[in-house]
């Protein structure tokens, strides 16, 4: 990094008073304090508040009557209520399907694209931005586009019929049982470029000498990647999986826009479950309980990761 120093007004050197020094010592903390206070209140305070609500019988309005673990027991029972499935059961199954597909396909696509892009190809500067642009879109726009694209009446199914394959059928986006897969498709389309960028950075960080040595030893490209490059990139896999998992849990807008406001709760996820129980079904306590479960899951993923990242930096 090149550093240019703007001229500082040359202050005449006067002996610093203790008062000045003392103020000087306080200023940085004073500057940081409002931000930290905001975070303390709006993040940690609010989280605790939500935890508190999950132990009350709050419905449309917050209540202070404690009911112990009743809400957690409710969600626990619902977890196994499969026939007819409770909304929570659907949400759990769906987050499994959506999260699993989302993580696996984003990793697979991201790694494939990164390896392909790293093969001394021409036009990388044009191709790479194409894989990345969906990230600039909002999930609502992505969902709107995919809803039209997959609509059997005017989208993909109709187009394939027009091309002559008339028995082709693809109605997932309007089929309640398959909707969640369409959400996954749109999500993968949106995020896989990001994973590609992470892997590409990883690939380009691999020491060239190791690769040269492998080549001299006569290893094929495939073997080099399989045996050397991919194992070296293990930390990138870890980062990518953690980032994707936390994005999957937080997915909310995408479900609403791909499915058209989640009709009948067919594509329910914990995030939409929380919202509908809190704001439309007036069961705020149950809603907060599901929010606490989401928070705990994300904390279980992120806290160890952030802890190790912060430690590594200051070894």
């Amino acid at each position: 990094m090149s550093v240019t120093i703007a001229p500082i007004a040359v202050a005449e050197r006067r002996p610093r008073t203790t008062l000045r020094e003392r103020i000087q010592e306080f200023v940085p903390k004073l500057v940081l304090a409002p931000s930290f206070l905001l975070v303390l209140i709006f993040v940690y305070g609010f989280n605790l508040w939500t935890v508190f609500l999950s132990f009350t019988n709050s419905r449309a309005f917050t209540s202070f009557t404690l009911v112990g673990l009743a809400n957690y027991e409710k969600l626990w029972t619902w977890t196994f209520e499969s026939d007819p499935p409770s909304s929570w059961y659907t949400a759990i199954v769906n987050i499994g399907i959506f999260g699993g597909l989302y993580i696996v396909f984003c990793l697979a696509l991201g790694l494939t694209l990164a390896i392909l892009l790293d093969q001394k190809i021409r036009g990388e500067g044009i191709l790479r931005p194409i894989y990345l642009y969906p990230l600039a879109l909002s999930f609502i726009v992505t969902g709107t586009a995919w809803k039209l694209f997959l609509d059997p009446g005017i989208g993909l199914e109709k187009a394939v019929h027009d091309f002559g394959w008339t028995s082709f059928k693809f109605d997932w986006v309007v089929n309640p049982r398959m909707m969640i897969y369409c959400v996954a498709i749109a999500g993968i389309w949106q995020t896989s470029g990001f994973v590609m960028a992470m892997f590409l950075a990883g690939l380009r960080g691999v020491d060239g000498e190791i690769l040269k040595a492998a080549q001299i030893d006569g290893a094929s490209s495939y073997a080099t990647y399989r045996r050397i490059v991919i194992p070296i990139m293990r930390p990138v896999f870890l980062s990518a999986i953690i980032v994707l998992a936390h994005m999957a849990i937080k997915s909310y807008d995408l479900v609403l826009s791909v499915t058209g406001k989640n009709p009948g709760g067919a594509a329910e996820l914990p995030s939409t479950f929380m919202y509908s129980y809190t704001f439309t079904r007036n069961q705020m306590a149950v809603g907060s309980t599901s929010a606490v479960i989401m928070l705990m899951t994300i904390a279980a993923i992120m806290v160890p990761y952030l802890y190790s990242e912060l430690r590594e930096k200051h070894r």
Binding site: M1, V3, I8, A9, A11, R13, R16, V27, P28, V31, L32, S35, F36, L38, V43, F46, T112, L113, Q119, K120, R128, P129, L132, Y133, A136, L137, F139, I140, V141, T142, T144, W146, K147, L148, F149, G153, I154, G193, M198, L200, A201, R204, S221, Y252, D253, S257, G260, K261, S271, T278, G287, A291, V292, L295, M302, L306, E309, L310, K313, H314
Partner: protein
């Protein structure tokens, strides 16, 4: 070299040349994926330029036979959105701008100051403070949204009282102000992270030298740090702009009707249950909603990628 620089830097040439067939396969796959990533956007653009009959009756991959800008004009100024009286999405577009500009400016400025304090004016416990702010980036908003609703409700009541007394609400209860508050608070973690990592690499000796010369806390920040912060300011502004513009959850919860940001208006427009679905108008609206962030991506893609990577892999 940072992770993002590795992505955007030209590839290192370590492989021996692939055979012609391998090259063809590599380019073929890359092009295939490029088309997959581009097609939803292209279909969206084409649908927005067709009359409705051509969208519902024709092939979505076909070029518009009689291109028209009418859907764009309708989307911008005429289309009915939900039950609101405001016609077209132009008003909501302005709502988003009014929300994004202050939120980005405030959160970036606070992030810069926080990053400065956390690297150049360290105090006991600085790591814990940073860790707590960092975790705040990753919480699911579901776990803070109920307390936020309660607090914003209170602010609204204060606003009403103030209006009764003075005739002005002073921003209390104003949906745009509320959303700015949300986005500043929950964006602080990221902006602090960006500036902290950037200033970490900034030579502390320069700061020390300035201190000896008698420069104060703010003088050092303004004269030494800020003039050298242009790249990270661009990265942070782009990252915050994209995230806040694309937000849906806060917008849909805390701003109703005419005050909604564009993402919420788009979702209401697309999922309206009354009348004929005007797919072409919906697509035009979606492109308008995506235009600002896409534009930023096109003109400053490098910085966009850097922000993404910095938000995922610290370092």
């Amino acid at each position: 070299m940072s992770a993002a620089d590795l992505v955007t830097a030209p590839p290192r040439r370590f492989h021996s040349g692939h055979s012609v067939i391998t090259r063809v396969v590599i380019y073929g796959m890359l092009l295939f994926f490029a088309i997959i990533y581009l097609v939803p956007l292209l279909v969206m653009v084409m649908a927005s330029l067709k009359p409705l009959s051509e969208v519902t009756g024709g092939n979505m991959f076909a070029l518009p036979k009689s291109p028209t800008f009418a859907p764009w004009i309708r989307a911008w100024g005429e289309a009915a959105i939900g039950v609101s009286d405001t016609a077209g999405i132009s008003g909501y577009f302005m709502n988003s701008i009014k929300m994004v500009v202050p939120a980005v400016v405030i959160s970036t400025l606070l992030g810069a100051l926080n990053g400065y304090v956390l690297t150049k004016w360290r105090f006991a416990g600085h790591k814990l403070v940073f860790g707590m702010m960092l975790f705040a980036c990753f919480i699911p908003f579901q776990s803070v949204i109920i307390p936020m609703a309660v607090i914003l409700g209170l602010l609204g009541q204060i606003g009403n009282q103030l209006t009764d007394i003075t005739g002005f609400a002073f921003g209390f209860g104003n949906p745009t102000v509320n959303l700015v508050l949300c986005h500043v608070v929950y964006g602080l973690g990221f902006t602090t992270l960006f500036f902290r990592n950037y200033y970490e690499a900034f030579p502390t000796e320069l700061v020390k030298a300035a201190m000896i010369d008698g420069a104060g806390f703010f003088q050092i920040f303004r004269r030494i740090l800020l003039p050298n912060s242009t790249p990270i300011i661009i990265v942070t502004v782009i990252y915050q702009f994209t995230n806040i513009w694309n937000d849906f959850l806060f917008g849909s919860t805390f701003a109703a009707g005419d005050q909604s940001p564009i993402t919420v208006a788009l979702n209401n427009l697309v999922n309206t249950s009354t009348g004929v679905v005007e797919y072409n108008v919906n697509m035009a609206a979606a492109i308008i909603a995506a235009a600002p962030t896409l534009f930023v991506y096109v003109v400053a893609g490098r910085y966009f990628v850097r922000g993404l990577m910095a938000g995922a892999v610290k370092g």
